[in-house]
Subunit: 283 residues, 2 copies
């Protein structure tokens, strides 16, 4: 068994981005900027946004957080997005989810300029993914694909089982894997016998948010296991995979923490850099 | 074994539409209109468009075919689409594919008003399907779902294998089945052992355009088999399924012709009616 070291891979990505940005600084070019809209004071959201700001700082991407009161209405958020769409200094726009219940996040996301949609959630980017056109890919699925490539996991013709079908992870990662010529099965809460599928897989991706869900009875030998879950249990971060129970039988596995998690943020930085490059090339 | 009678199901759909439209006529309301843009003189395309016109006539939907010379450029086609987008009498717009090679069909389709995109190919409708939002669904996948419902094929937790991953059929039908809580596997040309997957399925959907591809070695017993292929072999229409070889072991099967085929056109009529109703409710 070998661990997939997401922390190291993310660090390498950040170093590569930092080098590119230091060249931009030397040439006195405008620097890439990510703007995050944070509505309300949900502690988890505040912590995620803090992590994104810090990551930007590490590589030299400018970041700005626009804090809005939890009581703002949908039109206020949309007006804020519209103003960022128009701002030539802003390359990436991210609306931190979830939004308060009285605001429809689908409406808000649809107003982001697709060229600044670094979270890859705008309908135009969703359609591009499914139509195999270039566009922004959501950060966690993008990070998973980067890890698989980094560890030379071949995908063509491989049996991949994705457990979970969320819009943020399960569905887009299934599509990315299919686009790379894997044979993809999507399992979920209504699947009758998940182990029947996961045992037969070459690669398993689990993204359901249930601590230690994937136990020994779900796996066979020599598989690649990608664990997307992060749940806090007794103050400790735990994945969707029962790591201790399956680590000896698999070929490669992402630990939690230190696997997929760090790749999500570095993929966001990559998307922001990509938006910046597209943006400056246009002008 | 029981045949899934697509011809009969399509006829019932048409009768139901015809009744609704005769009520519109009685009340002297404006009637729904489908407009098809046909570029060039490809015989297959001309025949398909002819079939669509006849189907409209049968139920009382107005239809108009705009014929453009194969030498027109992309901007001409886009200008034509724009004019139909603005026309308050046009409910559905369909650009017959394939377009001549010098015209990018992705560009053209992206200019159709999503509210008139009765083929369900505009990025907004693609994204709606993947985001589980209401929108126009491509006609063949929609027809397949109607047949499965008509024949009371339960989908929740069922193992469905879709062979083929085209934008028109394989990918959208896989998503529709997943949205209905089936456990869905997508196989394709790079899948290593397709029979391994199809034999294990409760429901098989084949959409690859290879005559008699799904032979006895691909199936087990008591399955539901949906055959989307239509190939002309020695002047006869043949599906992707070797019907004679598998018919005795399966529970339900769509014949070719008379299975999925007739449902594609009746789904187009349904989408046009839906566009009309949305359109008239808006005003």
């Amino acid at each position: 068994m070998q661990n997939i070291d997401g922390k190291k891979c993310a660090l390498e990505l950040e170093q590569s981005l930092a080098e590119k940005i230091s060249l931009l600084k030397e040439s006195q070019a405008r620097l890439p900027m990510l703007t995050v809209i944070l509505v309300g004071e949900d502690p988890a959201s505040m912590s995620y946004v803090g992590g994104k700001e810090k990551a930007c700082t590490r590589v030299g991407i400018l970041s700005k957080v626009i804090r809005m009161d939890a009581s703002v209405n949908e039109a206020d958020v949309i007006a804020q997005v519209a103003s960022l769409n128009e701002d030539p200094l802003v390359d990436g726009i991210l609306v931190q989810l979830p939004l308060p219940k009285h605001i429809n996040s689908t409406h808000v996301i649809a107003t982001i300029d697709p060229a600044k949609d670094v979270d890859g959630l705008h309908p135009v980017n969703v359609a591009r993914l499914y139509d195999k056109q270039p566009g922004f890919v959501p950060c966690t699925p993008k990070g998973i694909m980067t890890l698989l490539k980094k560890y030379d996991v071949s995908l063509v013709g491989k049996k991949v089982v994705v457990v979970g079908r969320s819009a943020l992870v399960g569905r887009p990662v299934a599509q990315l894997l299919l686009n790379q010529n894997a044979t993809v099965t999507v399992c979920h809460s209504k699947t009758v016998d998940i182990p029947h599928h996961t045992k037969d897989a070459d690669i398993i991706v689990v993204a359901i948010g249930k601590a230690k869900f994937l136990s020994a009875e779900y796996v066979s030998s020599n598989q690649v296991i990608i664990d997307v879950g992060i749940t806090r249990v007794d103050g400790k971060l735990v994945g969707d995979v029962d790591y201790e129970a399956v680590k000896d039988s698999c070929a490669l596995i992402t630990p939690v923490p230190g696997g997929v998690g760090p790749m999500t943020i570095s993929s966001l930085l990559e998307n922001t850099m990509e938006a910046y490059l597209n943006h400056t090339q246009e002008n």
